[in-house]
């Protein structure tokens, strides 16, 4: 029995050009392909950027929705993933800005604990409270962005500069500071960088 053409196309996967064309025409198959091919990577990057799995899920969902809405205007100057990541970064910055403004209500704090389903998952807890999460959380947003773009997204210096709209020198300076800060913040027993932090090294 013959399969519908769209299903056959989706099974084979789209190349970047087909995906861009599909997004411009807001083809549901292309949107599905976008989520399937980039969703997980984007979600992981969002988790590292904001340190919270539930927030990361919301951020990625909003990123994809914005991408679908602005798909017809996508000029294809960068790769689809870089474009998506740019949207995610903007949303993450807003998220961090909003969190800074958040005022904790004592009444809410005294309320009964949430049901088990609403607790963050084990991975979430690990990500937030783990050594890496804590160290990342201690960095400022710009330093965290540069670190993640460099070592998770595997971007070159000039690519990071272009992505963030800053100079190569600023990228290198932030990266240098972020690495030093991570080495300082990560406790010796969980430091996976082969040795203890630079301060520990200096003491020895």
């Amino acid at each position: 029995m013959l399969e519908p053409f769209s299903g056959w196309w989706h099974k084979r996967g789209m190349d970047e050009e087909q995906l861009v064309q599909g997004l411009r025409s807001q083809d549901p198959v292309a949107v599905q392909e976008l989520v399937v091919s980039h969703g997980d990577r984007l979600f992981r990057s969002a988790c590292l950027l904001c340190g919270d799995q539930a927030e990361a899920q919301d951020l990625v969902q909003e990123t994809l929705l914005q991408a679908v809405r602005s798909g017809p205007r996508f000029r294809g100057c960068s790769s689809v993933y870089t474009w998506l990541h740019g949207i995610l970064l903007n949303l993450t910055r807003h998220y961090h800005r909003d969190r800074k403004r958040m005022v904790y209500d004592e009444e809410l704090a005294r309320q009964e604990p949430a049901p088990p389903d609403e607790y963050p998952s084990r991975l979430d807890v690990e990500l937030i409270t783990g050594a890496l999460g804590e160290a990342l959380g201690g960095l400022s947003g710009p330093h965290r962005e540069v670190l993640i773009l460099r070592f998770y997204e595997d971007m070159k210096i000039h690519e990071i500069a272009s992505h963030l709209g800053i100079s190569n020198g600023t990228v290198k300076s932030r990266l240098h500071y972020a690495i030093a800060e991570m080495q300082r913040r990560l406790p010796c027993e969980t430091n996976l960088f082969g040795a203890c932090g630079t301060e520990e090294k200096a003491k020895r």
């Binding site: 807001q26 984007l42 979600f43 988790c47 899920q57 890496l132 996976l192 960088f193 082969g194």
Partner: protein
């Protein structure tokens, strides 16, 4: 290239984005500088460690399937809303041609009607009386003719005005009527 210059370009060296000349200079410096070789090795280890740690921490994370469902549902609703807007525009579009045609026909008929009535028969003032008491009268009038024909899918129309002139001799009895 000295140590300071190499450390300044260390990231570009790792990225392989140095110019050819700078690359050669960096290689030459590295071959003779143990401290910079150590710095390079350390930078590679740091990069590898960060990369491994980030990958390990996040590799079990997957975007929940409901996100895909929500995005596709939002797209469907957006397309539905746009489809409705297009429907309204389309219905007007369907009416546009008949309306334009009707307006053209009305204008044409108005033109024909106006010109049919417009150029009224012109009566030339009575000429001097002829012998026998009669008057020579020259009467001119316009006859509009509207024609149309079809050529290779197009309808070509034409409005032609023909002026007719009549020269008549009015008998003497009629000239006395006024």
């Amino acid at each position: 290239m000295n140590c300071r210059g190499f450390k300044h370009r260390l990231y570009e060296y790792l990225d392989g984005t140095l110019s050819r000349a700078a690359q050669v200079g960096a290689e030459r410096h590295l071959s003779g500088c143990a401290a910079c070789r150590q710095a390079l090795r350390q930078e590679r280890q740091i990069a590898q460690s960060f990369s491994d740690k980030f990958q390990r921490t996040t590799e079990s994370l997957h975007l929940p399937p409901e996100v895909q469902r929500r995005v596709l549902a939002a797209l469907a609703s957006q397309r539905g809303a746009r489809g409705q807007e297009q429907g309204i525009v389309f219905s007007w579009g369907r009416l546009a041609w008949p309306l334009a045609l009707a307006a053209s026909v009305l204008l044409l008929l108005a033109g024909v009607f106006f010109f049919a009535r417009g150029p009224r028969p012109q009566t030339v003032l009575p000429q001097p009386q002829l012998a026998g008491g009669g008057v020579l009268v020259e009467l001119s009038y316009v006859v509009p003719t509207y024609t149309f024909r079809q050529e290779s899918g197009f309808v070509i129309d034409a409005l032609i005005y023909q002026t007719n002139v009549i020269n008549e001799r009015l008998p003497a009895e009629l000239t006395r009527l006024k």
